[in-house]
C-alpha cells in the first residue's frame, strides 16, 4: 500500500435549500490514498450520500456545495480541483478516472437499454474504440464479475438484483478508473450475495489497484472490508482511523454506541445496548457537540463547545472527552 494521495477533500460543506439551508455535510476533510479502501459509516441521514455526491460533483438541487475543495491528483500532472473544474474537464475525468456505484443498482441502470449498450455508451465516450469491440469488452467486463458474457444483450429487468449489482460494479470498472465511490452498493441483496459481491470486489481491487470510498451504515461490514474507516454524525466526521482500531478501541461515544449495539454472532454473547434518543434535526442542530443530547458521557461544555477533529497517529476523533488533546492531558 502506498501513501500516495489521490483525492484530497478539504473543508467540504454542503447545504440543502436556499431559504433555510440545512448543512448535511459540514466542513469535512479527508485524504484518500491510491489503492486504499476508505469506509464511511454513520447513521442514516448523517450525510454520507451527500458527501459522496459532492465529491463526485453529482449533487442535485437543492444541494449546494458552499465551501471546500476536492483535489484530484493524477499520476502525472497538476492536481485538479474538481469543484472548480469546468464541465468539459470534469466530463473527461468522469468514469475514466472517477467512477461511482450507486446505492441501488435496481434503479441505476437504464431500464430501456440493453445492459451491454450501457457499457458501450461509456466505453465509446472515453475510449476510441469501435462498436463491435466495445460490445466485446462489455461481455468481458460482465464475465469478470461472474455474469456470462452473452447476457450483455439482456435488459436490466432480466437480471436479478445481485446480477444488476455486479453489473453496476463491472460498469464502474469499464474504463479502469483510479477511484470508485460506492454508496451502499449492497443494501438490496442478502448477506450471502453481499458477501459474494464484496469478495469479488476485493479480488478486483487487488488486481487493478483502484481506490474505493465505500459508504454504508453497517459498521461490522466495514471492519471486514475497509483499510480505514470514517464515522459520520450529523454531517461531520466524528472519528477516523484504521478499521481494526476503530472497532477495537473506539474513542468517540457515538462509535462506541454503534459498536455496542450490534450483537455478536460467534463470540461470547455480550450485553448490547442501544444508543437511545433519535437522530438530530439538521435544521435545528444542538449547540456544541451534535451528539451531546444522546451521549451517555456528556459533561459541561459539550453543549457549548463544538469539538474539532483532532488526529494523533492516524486515529482522529471529535470529542471533548476522548479526543487526543484530552487524552494527552490526562
Amino acid at each position: 500500500m502506498t501513501a500516495d494521495p489521490i483525492l484530497d477533500v478539504a473543508g467540504l460543506t454542503v447545504e440543502y435549500g436556499t431559504d433555510r439551508p440545512s448543512r448535511a455535510v459540514d466542513d469535512i476533510s479527508f485524504r484518500l490514498h491510491r489503492g486504499e479502501i476508505l469506509g464511511v459509516a454513520g447513521e442514516s441521514g448523517s450525510g454520507k450520500s451527500t458527501l459522496m455526491t459532492a465529491v463526485t460533483r453529482l449533487e442535485r438541487p437543492p444541494a449546494r456545495i458552499v465551501a471546500g475543495s476536492v483535489r484530484y491528483h493524477p499520476r502525472d500532472g497538476e492536481p485538479v480541483d474538481l469543484l472548480g473544474a469546468p464541465n468539459r474537464q470534469l466530463r473527461e475525468l468522469r468514469w475514466d478516472r472517477l467512477a461511482v456505484v450507486f446505492q441501488s443498482a435496481m434503479t441505476a441502470l437504464n431500464p430501456v437499454m440493453r445492459v451491454g449498450a450501457q457499457f458501450v455508451d461509456v466505453l465509446r465516450a472515453h475510449r476510441r474504440i469501435g462498436r463491435k469491440e466495445a460490445w466485446q469488452r462489455a461481455a468481458e467486463l460482465l464475465e469478470m464479475v461472474g455474469i456470462p458474457g452473452d447476457r450483455a444483450r439482456n435488459y436490466p429487468h432480466e437480471f436479478s438484483g445481485g446480477m444488476r449489482q455486479r453489473a453496476a460494479i463491472a460498469l464502474a470498472l469499464a474504463c479502469d478508473p483510479e477511484i470508485i465511490v460506492m454508496d451502499e452498493p449492497t443494501t438490496a441483496v442478502d448477506v450471502v450475495m453481499q458477501r459474494q459481491i464484496l469478495g469479488r470486489l476485493q479480488e478486483l481491487q487487488a488486481q487493478f489497484g483502484f481506490a474505493i470510498v465505500f459508504i454504508t451504515h453497517d459498521l461490522s461490514l466495514l471492519v471486514e472490508l475497509a483499510d480505514r474507516i470514517m464515522i459520520m454524525y450529523a454531517g461531520r466526521v466524528v472519528e477516523t482511523g484504521a478499521a481494526a482500531t476503530i472497532y477495537r478501541d473506539p474513542l468517540h461515544p457515538y462509535t462506541l454506541g454503534l459498536r455496542d449495539s450490534s450483537p455478536s454472532l460467534h463470540g461470547r454473547p455480550r450485553t448490547v445496548r442501544a444508543i437511545g434518543g433519535s437522530a438530530p434535526d439538521l435544521w435545528d442542530l444542538p449547540k456544541g457537540c451534535a451528539f451531546h443530547p444522546r451521549c451517555p458521557r456528556r459533561t459541561d461544555g459539550c453543549d457549548t463547545v463544538r469539538p474539532p477533529l483532532l488526529t494523533v497517529g492516524g486515529h482522529g476523533t471529535a470529542c471533548l472527552l476522548t479526543g487526543p488533546a484530552t487524552q494527552e492531558q490526562s
Binding site: E43, E203, A226, D227, P263, S264, H266
Partner: protein, 357 residues
C-alpha cells in the same frame, strides 16, 4: 445458553403450540415470459410456535419467509396445507373467521414505511384495532392509545398520538407498527423483519422491547430476519429456510454455533462478524482474502429465470430434490432425488440434509 436478555422467563419446551403450520404450501403463478410456471414460495412447511416463545426464522432473501408469515396471518391463502390456532384448524374463507384470527394473531409487516398509511395520524391508526377487537369508549380509547404508545417506548404518548408517520423516525415507525399489532391484544406476533432496515442502535431498541413483551406477557412471536446475530440474541429457537423449505431448526445457540446444514453454514460464514476477524488475523490487509473465502461454494447464479433465488429446481431437476444441491459443496446423487426427513441432532436440534441422516 440463551441470550442474556431472556433469563427472567423461560418457556418450557413442552408448552403447547399455539400457532401451527402443517404441510403449508404456497405456489404463486407467474406472468409474462414465464407465464404458466409457478414460484414455489413456500413448500410443505411444518412449523410450530409455542406459547411464550420467540422463534426466529432466518434464510436467504426470497426464500419464502414473508410468504410464510403472510399465510399464517391469513393475508394470503395457501395452495395446500393447514394452519392451526390453539390446536384448531383456521378457516380463512369467511371474512368473519378471518377477523377472529386477526384478533389472536397479528402481523408486523416487513416495511414500516409502506404499512403505515401516511395519511393517518397514529391516533387513528392505533384506534382502529382497538375499536375492531374490543370496543373501548371514546374516553377510554385515548388512554389506551397512550398506554400502547408508551409501552413501545414512544414516550410521552401524548406527544406522539397526533403525529403522522412521516413525523416519526424509522425506529419510531417500527415501534408504531408494533404498537398497532399489540393493540389487538394478540397472543401471537408475526414480526416480518421488524428491524431490517434500521440502524443498529435503533434496531436494538425494538428487539429489547420484544423480548420484554415475551417475558412479561408470555407473548409468542415469529421473528423473521436476515441478521443471524440478532436471532441468536433474542430467539429461543431458530429455524432456517431455504427456497420454500425449512432445512434446519433448534435452540438458537445450537443452530448458530453448531450449524449442521451446509446452507446454514454458508449463511453464518457470510454474515459480517468483526469479532471473528479481530480474534483471528488482526491486520486489515488480509481482509480481502477472508471475505472471498467466506463467499464460498460455487457461484450462485441468481438468474431470475430460476425464480426464487436458486429455488424452483434450479437445475431443471425434479422438484422433489433438495433445492440447495446446486450450490452445495457436499451434494450427492441422492440429493437430486428427494428431500430427506428431519434428522435429530440432539436436544431439539434437527436438520434436513443427507449428510446428517
Amino acid at each position: 445458553m440463551t441470550a442474556t436478555a431472556n433469563d427472567t422467563y423461560k418457556a418450557p419446551d413442552t408448552a403447547p403450540p399455539i400457532l401451527e403450520a402443517v404441510g403449508l404450501t404456497r405456489h404463486i403463478p407467474m406472468h409474462g415470459r414465464r407465464h404458466g410456471q409457478v414460484v414455489r414460495a413456500v413448500d410443505g412447511v411444518d412449523l410450530a410456535l409455542r406459547r411464550g416463545q420467540i422463534l426466529a426464522l432466518v434464510g436467504q432473501s426470497g426464500s419464502g419467509k414473508s410468504t410464510l408469515a403472510r399465510l399464517l396471518a391469513l393475508g394470503d391463502r395457501p395452495t395446500s396445507g393447514e394452519i392451526r390456532f390453539d390446536g384448531r384448524p383456521v378457516n380463512a374463507e369467511r371474512r368473519r373467521d378471518r377477523r377472529r384470527h386477526y384478533g389472536h394473531v397479528q402481523m408486523i409487516m416487513q416495511d414500516p414505511f409502506a404499512s403505515l398509511n401516511r395519511l393517518h395520524r397514529l391516533r387513528y391508526i392505533l384506534s382502529r384495532p382497538l375499536r375492531n377487537f374490543g370496543t373501548p369508549g371514546a374516553a377510554e380509547l385515548e388512554a389506551r392509545i397512550i398506554e400502547l404508545l408508551e409501552r413501545v417506548n414512544l414516550t410521552p404518548g401524548r406527544e406522539f398520538i397526533d403525529k403522522y408517520p412521516h413525523e416519526l423516525s424509522g425506529g419510531q415507525r417500527q415501534r408504531a407498527a408494533v404498537a398497532r399489532a399489540l393493540a389487538a391484544d394478540p397472543s401471537v406476533l408475526l414480526g416480518d423483519e421488524p428491524v431490517s432496515m434500521l440502524d443498529v442502535s435503533i434496531r436494538l431498541d425494538i428487539l429489547n422491547l420484544l423480548t420484554e413483551l415475551r417475558d412479561r406477557d408470555g407473548l409468542s412471536m415469529l421473528y423473521i430476519t436476515h441478521d443471524i446475530a440478532s436471532a441468536r440474541h433474542v430467539a429461543d429457537e431458530v429455524v432456517v429456510m431455504f427456497s420454500g423449505h425449512l432445512v434446519e431448526g433448534g435452540p438458537a445457540e445450537a443452530v448458530t454455533q453448531n450449524a449442521k446444514h451446509p446452507y446454514t453454514q454458508l449463511l453464518l460464514a457470510a454474515s459480517p462478524d468483526p469479532d471473528r476477524l479481530l480474534s483471528g488475523e488482526a491486520g486489515t490487509g488480509t481482509a480481502a482474502a477472508s471475505l472471498a473465502a467466506a463467499a464460498g461454494g460455487p457461484d450462485a447464479d441468481d438468474d431470475p429465470d430460476s425464480a426464487a433465488g436458486s429455488a424452483t429446481g434450479a437445475d431443471g431437476g425434479t422438484e422433489a430434490g433438495c433445492p440447495f444441491r446446486a450450490r452445495c459443496p457436499h451434494a450427492q446423487a441422492i440429493c437430486a432425488e428427494r428431500m430427506p426427513e428431519a434428522a435429530d441432532a440432539g436436544s431439539g436440534h434437527w436438520v434436513r440434509c443427507w449428510l446428517h441422516t
